[in-house]
């Protein structure tokens, strides 16, 4: 019974813990497939950069509306989309490559955000924005996060095939006329929206961690694309559950706790996962396939 109290007690007893867990469930469901696609498209670092780019928008929303989720989310989405679109424009119109142009914009964005909050708010506010405040996840926030997750999954279902082809063989998609550019833009939009959904619980600094770490770890367990997405979501949810428990029992900030648990899961997968992990490749002498 002690295990039950330890593992389920906090959730049974406290509403905010339940809401946090449900919020993380929605994040895991939406973020799992998106994180998987980011990893496969080699956009992992760009996902990270986008999460930082969101900060000034969220900061503006916070300054104008307080710790209000709609205001911060709207600001965050605008900032994220602006960075994505502007850096895309610079890449297309000048010789500067996408990674450098993205880095430039997100750093400017991040500095702007920090400046805004530290001059007009307090340090505590900055901490809330950067690291999340799990206590602030109220029912409105839950509905917003849930809506975003649902929208993401629906949109992904619609653009799934062209998105996969655009990732796999972009020239082929152009030749058969599949609107690769449009699909890429929609995908970036989904990334931004999911990151914004995550920052309330995890903070802008950590939101991308729950998206990327499980996706990177899933690769050591399964092979098919759909399976990678599902495994990624499952790992994210498990990390959230354990992370929230640690944060409750050991009095740690929830965002970093969740992401660190995901990190441990990642290390475990790299070392001991059934597919292409260090153990599978070097200790058991690899596998032979027909």
């Amino acid at each position: 019974m002690a295990v039950y109290d330890l593992a389920f007690g906090p959730f049974a007893e406290f509403g905010f813990m339940r809401r946090a867990l449900v919020g993380c469930l929605a994040l895991a469901l939406g973020g799992g497939p998106i994180g998987t696609l980011l990893v496969i498209r080699r956009m992992s670092l760009m996902g990270d950069a986008l999460s930082h780019a969101v900060l000034p928008g969220a900061a503006l929303g916070f300054l104008l509306g307080g710790l209000s989720l709609p205001a911060m989310s709207l600001g965050g989405v605008c900032a994220g989309l602006a960075v994505a679109l502007l850096s895309g424009l610079v890449t297309r119109l000048t010789p500067l490559r996408e990674d450098a142009s993205f880095a430039a914009f997100y750093l400017i964005s991040l500095a702007l955000g920090v400046l805004l909050v530290s001059t007009h708010g307090s340090n505590v506010d900055l901490l809330h924005l950067l690291f999340g405040s799990i206590l602030a996840v109220d029912d409105t926030a839950l509905m917003v996060i849930g809506a975003i997750a649902t929208l993401s999954l629906l949109a992904l279902a619609v653009i799934y095939r062209p998105l996969v082809v655009e990732c796999f063989d972009p020239d082929f998609l152009r030749v058969v006329g599949g609107h690769g550019g449009l699909v890429h833009t929609i995908f970036l939009g989904l990334v931004v929206v999911n990151l914004v959904a995550g920052f309330q619980a995890l903070g802008t600094l950590m939101a991308v961690g729950l998206m990327m770490l499980p996706a990177a770890a899933a690769r050591f367990w399964v092979r098919e694309l759909w399976a990678l997405g599902v495994t990624s979501s499952a790992l994210a949810l498990a990390s959230a559950f354990l992370g929230l428990l640690f944060s409750y029992h050991l009095d740690l900030p929830s965002g970093p706790a969740i992401v660190l648990v995901a990190g441990v899961a990642y290390f475990g997968s790299v070392l001991l996962g059934p597919r292409d992990s260090l153990c599978a490749l070097y200790i058991r002498g690899g596998r032979l396939e027909a």
């Binding site: 496969i40 619609v158 653009i159 095939r161 062209p162 996969v164 082809v165 990732c167 796999f168 063989d169 972009p170 020239d171 082929f172 152009r174 030749v175 058969v176 006329g177 599949g178 092979r223 098919e224 694309l225 990678l228 396939e289």
Partner: protein, 266 residues
């Protein structure tokens, strides 16, 4: 199969009126990278159902020309027109496919992509489509490997998967960029057989090639390119020692800076 050609006066000094419709025509087409001309002022056309080899020295713009035709590169000047017969049904086999080789996709899924026009974004692949994909795989000798992930294939096998995808596209205009470069001897023979079959079906085929003996043996028409058109017409009239020498002379000028580039006098 008799196919007429329209030859621009720039190329060979005379004009022959077409005896069959044009699948693709180029008018004064110039393609460039970063201001460096890769194809200059090319005019002419591919007749419907023709089988053309595109040859020329390295850097003569052959791959660039194909990229311009399929729309991966926009012409800086001039016009590329596909006839109504083409209807946008082009199949293109690139020289170096920018494909993510480790992508989690299977052989049969890659070939099914060739049916994009029928299944598009959302439609499921019907049994007929699946059967067609199976036949395409069998035509390149990869039957039985449907479920294999592509990252486990060799370079030659993967090239054959791309050819199967091309077959699945069932296109009226087929463009191949150095298709024999990455494959082994046996597959090369099979590919020549496939190309002959496409020609018999009445499809328009153009291929960038390096082996002039192959061109003389299997390709009725040739376009000899050295950034500008050197000659375009029946193979035995184009691949003459004089034309080949002229192309080589023109290519000797290419290490020069663009400002100093002067067209070689005919």
């Amino acid at each position: 199969m008799c196919s007429g050609l329209s030859l621009d006066s720039d190329c060979l000094g005379f004009v022959v009126s077409p005896s069959s419709p044009r699948a693709l025509s180029l008018q004064g087409v110039t393609l460039a990278y970063d201001g460096q001309p890769a194809v200059q002022d090319l005019s002419g056309s591919f007749a419907q159902g023709s089988l053309t080899a595109i040859v020329g020295p390295n850097g003569s713009g052959k791959s660039t020309l194909l990229k311009g035709i399929v729309g991966l590169l926009q012409p800086v000047d001039g016009l590329i027109q596909q006839s109504a017969f083409g209807c946008g049904r082009i199949a293109y086999l690139p020289q170096h496919a920018e494909i993510e080789r480790r992508f989690p996709i299977s052989v049969i899924q890659t070939v099914l992509l060739g049916h994009w026009r029928r299944i598009g974004w959302a439609r499921a692949a019907s049994p007929e489509v699946r059967e067609a994909a199976q036949r395409a795989l069998a035509a390149v000798g990869l039957q039985g490997l449907e479920r294999r992930p592509i990252e486990t294939l060799s370079a030659g096998q993967f090239q054959r998967v791309l050819i199967a995808r091309l077959i699945a596209q069932d296109a009226a205009l087929i463009l191949l960029d150095e298709p024999f470069a990455a494959i082994d001897w046996r597959t090369g023979d099979d590919l020549l057989r496939l190309i002959a079959g496409w020609h018999e079906d009445g499809r328009t085929v153009a291929a960038v090639l390096h082996d002039l003996d192959q061109v003389r043996a299997y390709f009725p028409e040739t376009l000899l390119l050295a950034r500008e058109c050197v000659a375009w017409g029946p193979t035995r009239e184009v691949l003459t020692p004089r034309n080949l020498q002229r192309a080589r002379r023109m290519s000797g000028n290419w290490s020069v800076e663009p400002e100093e580039y002067r067209p070689v006098p005919a």
